[in-house]
Structure formats: structure tokens, C-alpha cells
Subunit: 411 residues, 4 copies
């Protein structure tokens, strides 16, 4: 476990290597956090929920960090005002790295010293902390992209975002209606919001074989999609007009050509890539324009499970197929690890949901309102953090995440 | 049909009888509309969707009304700025009543002149218009209550709100899990958002036998419920602090006694009455404090159908009971016609939902985001407007509707 | 004095005759007040500062009026929230007229009953009340114009605004530098802010013989004046861009022709009329564009006194002229009674200024910041309210007053 | 001149020595600028107004700097959005220092290469640039103090603010009324807003012999001054309530003791020090409470000239005193170099004011509205930047400058 812990910690710091010292404090909108704050907060998480509770004699680095690096845990205490995180010049970057080192040393001490029975108790908290830090690894990337983009120089972070190979023709994969099971079961790690596994009744539906591409979305833009109320939810249409949206975030028109801001600076838009940085409203409007709709999160998960089973079957040459299955779930492409896929499902508790105990009950449960579920993980999600039952969630207007879409239809 | 039409129209005007001329133009917040505007808008609805389309030679009263009284129908044209409806001193109240009379006369002409086959075509639009006007009848009442309340004189509208008889002990009614059908089917009138009927899978659940009372909610208030983050969704807790909420809308502390603003002016709070004028956040927080939760709209509808069947059975002495039923759905009380009951269900399209054609597609569909479903109708809902499949919907922070709650639990 | 009092009161009510009942409650922006509120407030002024203090046994009509109709007198007590005056449907218009009648009757009683020595004491307060009501007479007109204009029907109030006869060629009238006296002295009525008379040192200056016309201002508009930062103060330029100003308030471009909203509805713009409804920023920008500047209030008053003297001399054929005078002050035109003329003088206390005693100290003194002085009175100012020492004042961005300008230059 | 130039430039950089790298980008409110931006902007000033115009072959470091470091010069081009200066992680601090070095090298080249007649032409621009940089030296200090203060750790910048020696008893120094001359005349450097020298008529007045102290102001605070509308201008009173002001900026109550944030961190308030960090509204309210008023800028300057003359006379043992003088102007203390002293004079153009030509006309003139004049300079003003005719100006609500007050009275 120590090795896993240190792997996660090192991965976080590797993400900061391309940054200039000046970049660490950027907070270009309240939704994003400065890299420096992310670095401190994930350490605070281990300090607060593990070290203060389980390491005898642990002395916190600085009591003020309890306040400064607390994101939203009322059970832990008051929190520094979120939109002003970019004003925390102190602690300095150097002090935050030193904080990380102190926490790592203490964690090492704890893990080496702990008896197996003690480890059983604290281990689940450490796993949560590691998954928590992985979530922030993705946020470090999405946030720094947004932060650097607001600079008129449009500087490059220096990483290359993945590109599509030439996309296949879109096909519609059909799924039967009936009662299915969704949600997480078993002993492996999952967040509380993925539980419990439960049955749902689905009507027959179709899912697009692949993600929507830049080229397809460009047609919507150029057909006047952002000027036509008919495709939009009322709240979305209001937002489009008020914010003056004309295209996805990071798109920029230069003469006849669309350009797009990437982790590597400005680049011409590639039609064959999957579209990214959409809000829910834009994904929903595109789907309506395309004569389709977004899938529900249940439809997405059912399809993903069947697709996964088909992948496993293919590898194991297992001829015995499950009784009821999608006609061709194995033909699904780009299911995970490219862009998060908006679903039409509001983020609500699963039937029978129980938040984690103690302070960690605030991790997910209190946000189950005013947000939509995204599925499938993005290229910035650490691979060991990807799960078919994973429920990511963001407000309807959020665009700075790596968020795209896959179409669905009633069958 | 003419009789039904005129009944609805007369009912609207009767609601205005207690008003002073000065009251007609009040708009104390953007969400409410002046009574005068309601009176014009419901007439505009018939003019726009019926008379302009189907009455040969119909000459609109004033072309500017097309703009002024259009609520949100982009298909009809641009709309006057909603938050400024209270500034429309012209047309005057007298002119709006004369507009109503002109529309009524034209509707009468249309209905008397129409052949049966024509009636079939236009009839469904007229039904929609009548149900539309009934919705505004309730809004006239909720809006004028809010408008008058903002006056420091706290004037009375002059109607007595219904009161509870001494409430019974709360009992938990149990319902089996399994696949149920919900949603509207058949030829009777329903809004598009109630369709299609479809199957859902429910886990076993319990429903409280009656509504939550003022007395019960007062305990929550006095136990510090509005000062304790543990009971609140994060967005709700932010709102409570920002808006300084300390109790439901219209409650007012005077020394040791709670008072409440009613349609009849200020009155001491009666513990035995059902609590009213809650936002979703408050209903949800109360339920959590009480060790329960809000029902989903599907749970509510399934229970309501069984309750209704039990009522019918009781009246018809039908001994042949459906195979699977609630253990005692007939024991449910206060199911409809007192206060709207918040559910934990976001307002989303039913699987297979199709908006109405033509301009009326904007009636419901484009609002299916950022709102929660309420069920059960209030005392201000016209009785002929009540349906067990009816889906009312309001944003999470709305408190000026007659909105209360009934508790649920996992079984 | 009773006759004078009743004259003022009747004049106020005559201004309301063209109104529909619906118009009385309009408040289209926080700066304006509903006519109904004006009617109540001026009565409250007499009730508060005269009747409550001096009429034995006077019983206020309604104690809540003390709060509702208090504009800004902290010494009297708390005030109803100004931007919500348009929500006061109660007291009704009928009740407010009845309030006026009650106050008038009590004032009559007071004046008839008072002994001469008592009258001396209360008389100055009554004079203040009458001048106060005259100020509100002008505000009733400016406010109702703004209120009706926001209605998409652009209804007419029904009065004809004065027009210029064909304006003369603009001439520059020269004034010597030196020490002058400005400010009010003597026993006649004046507001505290006009006192004391005091000496000022002026450099030689020139004043335009007449007001700026619509035609002249139209040239500025059509020459791109609203798009060129060079003519604007920084705060003005920010406002022009943020508010999207393109022309004076009430101007409207229809094809090739400018139209303007008047008390009588929309009418084509007449080039020969004096320009009106400018903010300070626009008046200042125009002056800079025209190679001139606004006069200071001292320059304006010095010129006005000389002009007035010349008028008197002309009438009395007095050949003995004051030693030092303007070369031709008698040639000044349009000095008073057409539009208020912006000066470049911030509204600050005169040297030696003392606010009125008691509650009336709040009348003027506390507003001596963030406002600019206007001089000369408008056509909506009651003639008996015009004075050459009168200091009107409004914030830099106010446009709904009858505010124009006259140019000045260093000599 | 080169030496003077380099002195100014070095002084700027010395101010940054106590900063951590993280501190350079802080912008805790729109009114302040990050240290990094100040460093770049003052260099941009020389580049824009001197090097681009006069150094043949000068190649700007980066064309984007023209936009990024332009504060408000529309004549130069568009400007980066001021409130977002804190988001400019690029150019980095290192790049900005390298920009400074490049500009210095080019300036050196220009100055060494220029013939005397060329120097005459460019010299006045360079003097302006040096005085401009000195203004920013003070802003660097005021801004970093504000920026660091918003950090919950209240870090110290590391400088000690000057303290009063035990203050003398306050005496009132009397000045005669009459015509005086104020404003700058002669060949020495002055900003355009100090010109032309001109005559003013003053009434007799008194000026306090010294500044108001913390102890005196604390009495006002503890007597409920911030809770009593009677002392405040209406706009000030609104602000006090809305912003919740209870004491000057940086004051903090800890039990019975007042503490204050200084450049060296938190420290107990010293009663004998001069009060600092007041807005105009607070200075004005205190003066009213103390039965006095603020001086006009003319009164201040007249007194300061006489005081200065008295100082010179004392040193030169010149027995021949000017005919008319203050009775004891030499007894004035703390006139310059401690805190800026609010005057009651709005910042308006002097009679006959002419803005500088070319792009520099925007330096002062366009801000002559909505601001008040401060006189006397603070401890953070470079000594060579202090002048008795100097007109500093800030909006009425500004508190982060080193701003205090001296009382005045009518004589």
C-alpha cells in the first residue's frame, strides 16, 4: 500500500513539472483552484482524515492549513473563501512542497509501524485519500488549461492531448428493454455514490457506436445551432444569449478556419477528433438537433457492462454468451478514457444510498442536486481511477472539464 | 364545451373580486406576475392558439398584445421582459377586462359556428387553453399572496385558507418493490409531460400517512435546524446563509409566538395545520432531520393510485383486490388538494416523451432541467385540474407556492 | 398664507389629472417615485414637520404612513425601502387622496387658529413645505415621463412640452474676472444650500448667448461622438460603453429620422429645440467636442445676476449702470425656465454653510457629495420656485431630468 | 539625467526585495495591481512614450506587452482587463525583470547618444516617466500591504511604518481671508493638474496644528461614530451599513485591545500615532463629530506655503516677513510626508487647465470627476516626489492608501 500511495503522490507532482513558478497561484474563475492549492489540499486530506486520527504524536505542520486547505468539510471546521484561493501567496509553493514531504514522511511512518489489524481500519481511509488525490490530478489538468487559456498569450502547458484516429462511421447499437442491475457491488473500491447496486427498468434503446466528433459539432455550429432557440432547454438558451456562446469553450474563429486551445497552445481544429469542452446544455442541444438524445446514466452503464463483457468474452473465447445482451455491444467504441460523456440523468442518490460515515459523509452526498452525471472518464483521468460504475457530476453550465457526448435514441 | 369554457373564464374573474384596483399591477419579484398580466395572458393564449388560427376574420384587439402577453413562446415571437410586467400600466385594467370580453365573444362565435369535425380539431387546443387558465388561477392566488405580503401593512386578500382538522398520528404505510406503471394513458386530458405511461422498477418503500404539520416543522426550526449544515444539501445551505432564512416563508416570530401571513392577513401559527411555503431545500432538510427522506414522484404516484383504488373499492364494496397492493394504501390521508408535496425527483422527460406539436411544444418540454417535481395539488388548484399523474415543477428555491411535504423511507 | 398653501396643493393634483388609475403606482427605476407616493410624501412632510409639532390634538391618519412616506429623514425614523415604492398598492390611490384632504383640513385649522406670533414660528416651516411640494411637482412630471416611456406602447401623458422659436445665432458674451458675490442673502425664501452669500474670485470667461440645440447635439451624435473616447471623462466613457448609450435619453432612430419621446408621445426631433435629457457626462463631452466647456455654477450665477439687472434696467430705463458688468449680459437668452443647465461644479457646501436645524438639516446637506450642480430651472419648475441662486443637483449619470446645457469658455 | 533615471529604477526594485516569488502576482481587489504588473507597466511607460518615439531602431521586447501593460491610455491602444491583472502568470517575474533590464539598456543608449537639443525634446518626457514611476513606488507599497493583509496568515512585508513621537496638544492656527494664489508656476516639474497658478478668494479659516491621532479617532469609534447617521454624508452612511465598516481599514478588535495591520504584521494600536487608512467618508464624519470640517485644498495649500515660508525664514533668519501671513503658520506640524490628508475639495480642473499634449493628455484630465483631492504626501511617497502644489486624488470610498486627516474650521 505504501508503494501505491507513493505512486499516486509522485504522479501528482509530475503533473506540475511543466509549470512556471508564476502559474501555481492562478485561479481564473471560482470553479477552478490554483495548482498550489490542489497540492496542499490533497495533503491536508491525508493529514486530516488519517494522520490526525491514527498517527500517535503527529504534529500538524501549521494549524492555519486546517482552514486554508479545507475544501468544503463543515465537519472539520470553517473553510477559507473558495473564490479567493488565488490570493494565497502564503504558504509559498516551496512551503507547500515541504508540507507534502512532511505528510509523506508521516504516512510512511504510519504504514510501516501499523499492525495488520490497524491497517485494516485505516486502510480504507487511505484508499479514499488516494482516489481523492487522483480526482485532483484530473482537476489540476483541467484547471491549469483554463487558467492558462485566459492569458492573452495563450501559453502552452506542454502536453499533447490525445487525438482520434480517423473515426468510423456512426452505427446505432440496440439494447433490449427490461430490468437491469446497475451500481457498484463487491469489495473493490468505489465511492459511496455508486452504491448500492440496484435494479432499474429500461425501455429498449440505441446507443451511438462512437463519440460525437468536432466535425459533426462544427456542422451544428455553422448551421446556426447557437442562434436557434428550438434546440435548447429554456435555461440553456438564456445562458447562451447572456454569455454570448457561439461555439464550445476554447474554439476560436480565425477567418475561415476554426482553431482550438489545447494543452499545447492554439492549434487548428481537427474534424476527426471527438468534440470536447461542452456544457450539458450544448450537448443536449446538439443531440436534439441531430434527432437524438443523451443517454441516461443507467443506459450508459448497462451498455458499458455489456461492452466490457464482450471484450472479456472476445479475449477468453467464451462462447457461452449471457442470455439477454445487446445486439453487438462489442461494436461500441471510445467508451472510456477519452472524454467524459454527458448523460441526461440528474445527479441524485441511488435508491438506498448511504453516505460514508464521519466527516467523509460530505464527500458526495450533499452535492446531489443541480448537477448532471457524466460517465466514461477522460484521457486526464488516471487509468486506475476509471470504473464503469463511476458517476462524475458537474453543473449544467460547466465547460472546462473534458466533457463530450455520445448520442442515444429510443429504440 | 362552451359552458365549460365560460365556467373557467368566470372562475378566473371571481378570484379578482377581493382586489383593490391598485393591486392588479403588483409584481414583487420576477417569479410572480401581476394579476392584470395573468388576466391578459390567458386570453392571449386563446387568441393566439385558437382564434388567430381557426376563426375566419378574427381581428386581434391590439397587435402589441401579441408581444406584451406572450410569456415564453419563442415560436409566437419575442416577449416583453418578464421582470418588468409590473410596469405595464397600459393596457389598463379596464382595457384588459374589455380584451377578455372580446376574446370570449369571439370564442363563443367560434364554438357556435363550428361543425363537429372542426370542433374535433380545435377542441383539443381549447381544452389545453382551459387547463392553462386553471394553472393561472392558482398562480393568481399564490402571486397575489406574495405581492400583498411585501406590503408593510400586510393587507388581507380576504379568503380563508383551509385548515387541518386535528391531525391523526403519523403512520408508515408500506409498499412492495417491483415493476409498476406510472404516467398518463387513455383519452382523458393530460399535459404532454405526464406521458407516456411507462414501467418503473421500485424498491420497497414506506410513505407517511399524512402531511408534515406546522408543529412538527416548528420543532425542526426551534431545534436549530436552520443553523445546522448537517441537514442541508450544499446548495441549500449556501442559500439559507445568504438569504438569512430562519423559518418557512411567511412565518414571523413575535415574542414567544409564531405568526404566519395568510390570505386573510397575519394569524397565529396553528401547530395542527400542514406546513406550507417550503422550498425544496427546506423540505429535504426537514426530512433528513426527521430520519426520513422525500418520496420519488414514482413512489408518490404508485401510492396515490393504490390509495385511489382503495377509495373506489371501498365505495363499490369490491372485494376482489388487485394481486399486489400496498398494505393499507387506503389509510393514506391528505393525498390531494391541500398542499403540493415536494418529491426528490428532478423534473426530467419520461422515457419516450414527445412534446406537443407546433407552438405548444414549448409548454413543458423546455423546462425539464433545474426543477423538482411536486405532486398532489393544493387547495388553490381548481378541483377539475387535479390528477394523480399531474407533474407540477418548480426550482429548488421556490417558496411562494403552496408547497409542503410528506415523508418517505426505504422499507 | 392659507391661499398660497392651497394653491400649491391644488397645482400638485392638477398634474395628476391626465393619469389613468393604473399609472399612479409606476416606478420604472429606483430613482423615480410613483405619483401616488409623491402625493403621499408631500402630505407627510406637512404632517411630520408642522401638524405633529404645532397642531394640538392632531391625530395622524395612519402611523404606518410615518414609515411609508418618509423619504430619507433618519431623524424622523426608519424608511420604507426606496426601490420598492412601486409595490405599495396599499394605501390605495383613493386613500392617499383622502390623506391629502385630511392634512389640508388640519392645515387650514392650524392656520386659521394660529396667533400671529405662532404663525411666525411655524410659518417658515410651512414655506419650506410649500417649496418642497413644488420640487415634487417637477419630479412628478419627470418621473411619469420616464415611467410611461418604458411602456412599449409609449403612451402620451397629454401635455405639450415647450418648444424653441427659431434659435438665434450663438454669440459669446464676455465677463470680466475679479471678485464677485454669489449665494442668497436677505429675507426672502431660499434653501439652506444657497447660503451664505460669499465672495469668489473668477477669471474672465465667456458664456454662450443661448442653450445648445437638438440640431447641434445631433451633429455630435452623427459625428461619432458616442464612439470616441477623446471627448469623455473616464467614468463617462465606461458608462457609455456599459450602458450602450448612443444618443440622449428618449431619442430613437427610425431609418433616417430621429424621433424623441415627449409628454405627448413620440414625435420627430426638432433641430431648433434646445437639447434635453442629457447626463452630466454627455453635456461635458459635447462641450469638449465643441471646443468649449461647461460653466461653473459661480460663472452662471454671476452672468444670471447681470442679465437680470440688465432686464430690470431695460424696464426701468435706468441709465446708471453698475461699474463693472458683462459686455452685453442683456443679450443672454434662455437663462431660466426651459431646461436645467449642467455646470461643471460639484455640489459642495458653500463656505460657511450651516444646515437647517432639527430634522430638516437632512434636507440638503447630507447629499453634498457625488453630485453636480444644475442651474436655471426647467419648464416643469413652478415659476414661483425659480431663483437665480437656486442650486439643483443630480448625480453625473442622471438623464431623466429636464437637463440640457449652455457652453462656456475661458476668455 | 541618466543617474537620476537609474536611481528611480533601482528604488523601485529595492521595494520588491522583501517579497516572496509568490507575492508578485497578488491582486486582492480591482483597485490594486500586482507588483509584477507595476514593474512591467512603468517600463512600458518609457518604452511607449520615449523609446518607440525617439530611439531609432528600438525593437519592443514583445508586442503583446503593449496591450498587457497599458493601464488606461486609449491613445496607445486597447488595454488588458484591469481586474484580471492578477491572472497574468506570463510574462513571468523573471521575464518582467528581463524586460526592465532591456528598457534600461535602451534608455542608457538613448541618453548617451542624444545631442543636447534632442535631450531638450525628450527630456521632459523622461522626467514625466520618472515621476510616474515614483507614483507607482508608492502604489507598490500600498497595494502589497492590502494584498498581504487579505491572507489569513497576515504576513509581514518586513518594513517598519513611521511612528509619531508623542504628539503635541492640538492648536488652531488662524489664517486671514482674501485673495491668494495657488497652483504651480515656474519651470520646475509639476503635473498638468497642478497648473495654472491662479487666484482664489478664501474666507478666514483655522487649521489644526497637527494630524488627527489614532487615539482621537478611537474615541469616535468607541463613542458609536460608525453607528450614528448624524455624522455621515448620505452616500457614506449607505456604504458604512452595506460594507459593515466599524473602524478604519486594518483595525482589528481583540478583546479590549485594538490591533492594526502594519507592513510588519499585526501590532497593538498606538494612540499617539496619526490615524491612517481612512476613506473620505470616514475623515469627513470624524471632522463633523469633532465639531470641525476638512480643509479645502486651497486652504491647505495656502497654509502649507506660509508654513514653508516660515521654515525658510527661520533658517535664513529673515526678519522681513510677508505682509499678510498666518498668525503662526510656522507652528504647523506634520504637514508633509506622513499621511495624505483628505480635503473637502472634489478633484476638478483648475481654471484654465490644459491637459498635456499627445497621449499624455490622458494622464490626469480624464479622471477629474468622482474623486476627492488629498494633500501632503505620505511616508511612502519618495521625498523627491513631494510638492506643496501636488494634488493626489482618490474616490470617496478608497481606504487602502496612506490617508489620514487634519481638521479645519471657519474662523
Amino acid at each position: 500500500m505504501l508503494e501505491a500511495y507513493l505512486d499516486v503522490r509522485r504522479a501528482t507532482e509530475r503533473l506540475c513539472e511543466p509549470l512556471e513558478p508564476d502559474d501555481y497561484m492562478l485561479q481564473a474563475m471560482p470553479d477552478v483552484s490554483p495548482t498550489k492549492w490542489h497540492l496542499g489540499h490533497v495533503s491536508w486530506f491525508f493529514e486530516t482524515f488519517v494522520l490526525r486520527r491514527y498517527l500517535n504524536g503527529y504534529r500538524p505542520v501549521d494549524d492555519a492549513y486546517q482552514f486554508i486547505f479545507n475544501s468544503y468539510y463543515n465537519a472539520v471546521g470553517p473553510q477559507y473563501y473558495r473564490p479567493a484561493r488565488g490570493l494565497l501567496s502564503r504558504p509559498t509553493v516551496a512551503q507547500v512542497y515541504s508540507y507534502r514531504a512532511r505528510v509523506d514522511k508521516a504516512m510512511q511512518e504510519l504504514l510501516e509501524r501499523a499492525r495488520p489489524d490497524e491497517l485494516a481500519e485505516v486502510g480504507s481511509l487511505i484508499w479514499i485519500g488516494m482516489h481523492h488525490e487522483q480526482q485532483h490530478q484530473e482537476l489540476i489538468v483541467t484547471d491549469i488549461k483554463y487558467n492558462l487559456w485566459t492569458n492573452p498569450l495563450r501559453p502552452a502547458y506542454g502536453a499533447v492531448e490525445p487525438r482520434s484516429i480517423s473515426p468510423s462511421e456512426l452505427r446505432w447499437i440496440e439494447f433490449d428493454g427490461g430490468v437491469y442491475t446497475v451500481g457498484h457491488a463487491g469489495d473493490s473500491f468505489a465511492f459511496d455514490n455508486e452504491c448500492p447496486a440496484h435494479q432499474v427498468y429500461l425501455r429498449p434503446f440505441r446507443l451511438a457506436s462512437r463519440l460525437v466528433t468536432n466535425g459533426e459539432f462544427r456542422e451544428f455550429v455553422e448551421a446556426g445551432g447557437y442562434q436557434d432557440w428550438r434546440f435548447w432547454l429554456a435555461d440553456g438558451w438564456n445562458l447562451v444569449q447572456k454569455a454570448g456562446w457561439q461555439a464550445p469553450l476554447y474554439w476560436e474563429r480565425r477567418g475561415e478556419q476554426w482553431w482550438v486551445y489545447t494543452m499545447n497552445g492554439m492549434a487548428p481544429l481537427r474534424d476527426e477528433d471527438f468534440v470536447c469542452h461542452l456544457s450539458y446544455y450544448e450537448a443536449d442541444a446538439y443531440a436534439r438537433w441531430a434527432g437524438a438524445r443523451l443517454p441516461t446514466e443507467q443506459e450508459w452503464e448497462v451498455a458499458a457492462r455489456l461492452w466490457h463483457q464482450a471484450m472479456v468474452d472476445a479475449r477468453t473465447c467464451d462462447a457461452a454468451r449471457p442470455e439477454r445482451t445487446a445486439r453487438g455491444a462489442g461494436a461500441l467504441e471510445q467508451m472510456v478514457g477519452l472524454v467524459w460523456q454527458w448523460t441526461r440523468s440528474p445527479y441524485v442518490p441511488y435508491p438506498g444510498f448511504r453516505p460514508w460515515p464521519d466527516g467523509l459523509g460530505e464527500y458526495n452526498g450533499k452535492f446531489m442536486v443541480n448537477q448532471m452525471v457524466l460517465r466514461g472518464a477522460s484521457w486526464a483521468t488516471p487509468p486506475s481511477h476509471v470504473r464503469l460504475t463511476y458517476r462524475n457530476f458537474f453543473p449544467h453550465d460547466a465547460r472546462w472539464q473534458f466533457s463530450g457526448l455520445r448520442l442515444a435514441q429510443d429504440a
